[in-house]
Symmetry: C2
Subunit: 407 residues, 2 copies
């Protein structure tokens, strides 16, 4: 977990504002959910590996250890590990007050008790958009278009939108000869392909299904085929509509000719969460080892969370990784006034005049004279003040002069 | 803990932006600290009653209940209950990278495990400014001026800044005849005056000190005196400088003639936290039962947190209470376009044209035609869309027409 210095916060706010403006322009509406959720909801099995990384909160009613039978009974709340689980609960609770379909924009911190490592934080910000209530692939196309626009608005360029479909993965596993009940286990292994390589995947697949299945799976994947070719090599295991849908999604994004954006089918894309039911996507960039955004369709999750059976699809931007890719902001130039005054002077007139300057767009800070201007003025200039008002109580009208490091 | 609907989030963001713009205009710089802090730091005794309301986080390394001796050993982290304790740790850690004096602006959620009741939430937002490194009362005057400006910028009017000083309270307790070592206990009782009334305070003070002390304390307080008169009736127990300082702070704020702002000395103002060392303040409004802002000088807290011995002073706005006082925003008028299209249409050209509209400042949302315009159009109008583009793939140039509830 990190502290952020003022310059870092300004950078983050700039990036956040750029994302938010684009998403709002698409009609996504900001919502807010609490950081803590009931543990039962966070540990439903849909969160994949993240469920093992929950910060769990001690019950407030315990007076003595003897009151509980085991560790599980100690805790009742947890810090959310993503924004999707809270959104589905939110929608189940509040859908009567929300438009249909509902476009949700949620920007907020999430927590995962990971071992500290480069580029991974235990508290980090996610920026999610979700479209609930649209079953057609217009939802996927819109989410990807909006996300490309949002990322480009931050100044990012040269990124790739990778697209796949859970049903392609299921056909791939089945078409390679694995039994259907091992699908999830095979996909967990396949998800490690970029970390352990084909040989590593083959090793880990060996205990699952027929020895030839792993070889066949890797053989199909190594072909780097487009969707249609892959469908052909799976010999009917893949529904034609799924392949056509994926092609339509990619075509609609490509057809917008977004500069600096590539769109690619990636049959090896898995995504960790258990809840996806259709198209899945990730955004990658050469400057970042992990993905900077990811998402997909999760049509059954809202109903599982106690809400209506509503189709749903979303994209989440990993805010920290995005910020790490972007150059820091320059301090905006000019108009930062420091008012130098003696200790003990009556501050009313000074503050009134400063207020007028602020109304004109200046940032105005006070500083008490130290009596050593040769030291104090360069220090104030180094702190970013570029105008000086050397305050004289006899003349409380602002008189600004430039302040530089040479003062 | 609460979910916020889109209209509520827009309202909150509007209020937050108003506060932030004013504080930044005074030179306060945004910082961010993590939600979780080491429990030891949160339970140092400076947090008063809030330390009993901490959400405690279970250690991640426990495998079995038998590994721990008692409840305390189960947890190592806690959710922060205010922004001041994290700030002092932040300053102790990062002061080398920060200007001196440092003006900190921190807006973020805090958590308290309170029993749910009207106007009290278990997660709520605080908006704090703090000035670290200025010992003179210019700090207090600036913090109060900035806070008055910030509150007025949200549209709030008719509020009162109540001012007191911990040293006035100490003199009051001593001057009434209580032994010095009971000061803190007497102040805890006095802090309940607005809840239990003078008779209630007298009852609770009875076991502390001489029976006449309580009567004398309440007698002095009932006089509603100004600082100088109070100092006189305390017969030398109050330092002249303290009384003069309080007068100077109030005069400097009053002297700015801020419309809708009253400034008043309030000898009964205590503030719960243990860490205050000098002037303390609260902002109250007839529409809110609790205070909407509070703060004071806490000159020894940074050193206690492991940092340099730096003078410090701050104000915290209770964001939820402030929002509850302000009327909700009207939805901004106009320029919300809905593009109605058939399912299955090629979306590329539609999205390209929508992007151009967004660049012109429109919010542009898609909707799939249901085939029942008599139902769909009024519903879209009710959702806030006021312009319709009835999309025709043969003519992908936007053609907007007004959309109303009569459609």
């Amino acid at each position: 977990m990190r502290d952020f210095l003022p310059g870092q916060v300004r950078h983050r706010e700039h990036v956040r504002a750029a994302l938010e403006a684009v998403y709002r322009g698409y009609g996504y509406e900001p919502i807010e959910t609490p950081a803590l959720e009931v543990l039962e909801r966070l540990t439903s099995g849909e969160g994949g590996a993240n469920e093992g990384l929950i910060f769990r909160v001690l019950r407030r009613d315990l007076r003595d250890l003897s009151e509980v039978a085991d560790l599980r009974a100690l805790t009742d709340l947890g810090l959310r590990y993503d924004l999707t689980v809270p959104l589905t609960r939110y929608y189940a609770t509040n859908s009567a007050a929300l438009p249909d379909p509902f476009r949700s924009l949620q920007i907020g911190p999430v927590w995962r008790a990971e071992r500290p490592q480069k580029g991974r934080y235990r508290q980090f910000l996610q920026c999610d958009i979700d479209l609930l209530g649209e079953a057609s692939l217009g939802a996927e196309v819109e989410l990807l278009s909006a996300t490309c626009d949002a990322l480009r608005a931050t100044g990012l360029s040269g990124f790739t939108v990778r697209v796949n479909d859970r049903r392609v993965l299921e056909a791939l596993v089945a078409g390679s000869g694995f039994p259907a009940d091992l699908t999830r286990q095979v996909l967990v292994v396949l998800d490690k392909l970029d970390k352990v390589g084909p040989a590593g995947v083959a090793d880990q697949l060996a205990p699952l299904g027929h020895p030839l299945a792993a070889a066949r799976l890797l053989d199909i994947l190594s072909a780097e085929a487009d969707v249609a070719t892959l469908a052909g090599s799976l010999g009917g295991a893949l529904d034609d509509d799924v392949a056509a849908g994926l092609d339509a999604i990619m075509a609609a994004v490509t057809d917008q000719h977004l500069e600096g954006v590539d769109v690619a089918f990636d049959a090896t894309l898995v995504r960790g969460m258990g809840y996806y039911t259709g198209p899945i996507f990730e955004v990658t960039h050469a400057g970042s080892s992990g993905s900077i955004a990811g998402g997909g369709r999760y049509d059954r999750l809202v109903a599982k969370s106690g809400g209506a059976d509503v189709p749903a699809c979303g994209v989440s931007i990993g805010f920290e990784r995005l910020c790490d890719l972007l150059p820091p902001d320059e301090q905006p130039p000019g108009r930062r006034v420091v008012v130098l005054h003696d200790a003990g002077v009556a501050l009313g007139p000074l503050l009134r005049a400063s207020r007028d300057l602020r109304a004109d767009g200046y940032t105005v800070t006070r500083a008490v004279r130290t009596g050593r201007p040769g030291k104090q003025l360069p220090r104030l200039a180094a702190q970013g003040h570029d105008l000086l008002w050397d305050y004289d109580p006899a003349e409380p009208t602002p008189a600004l002069r430039p302040l530089t490091a040479q003062d």
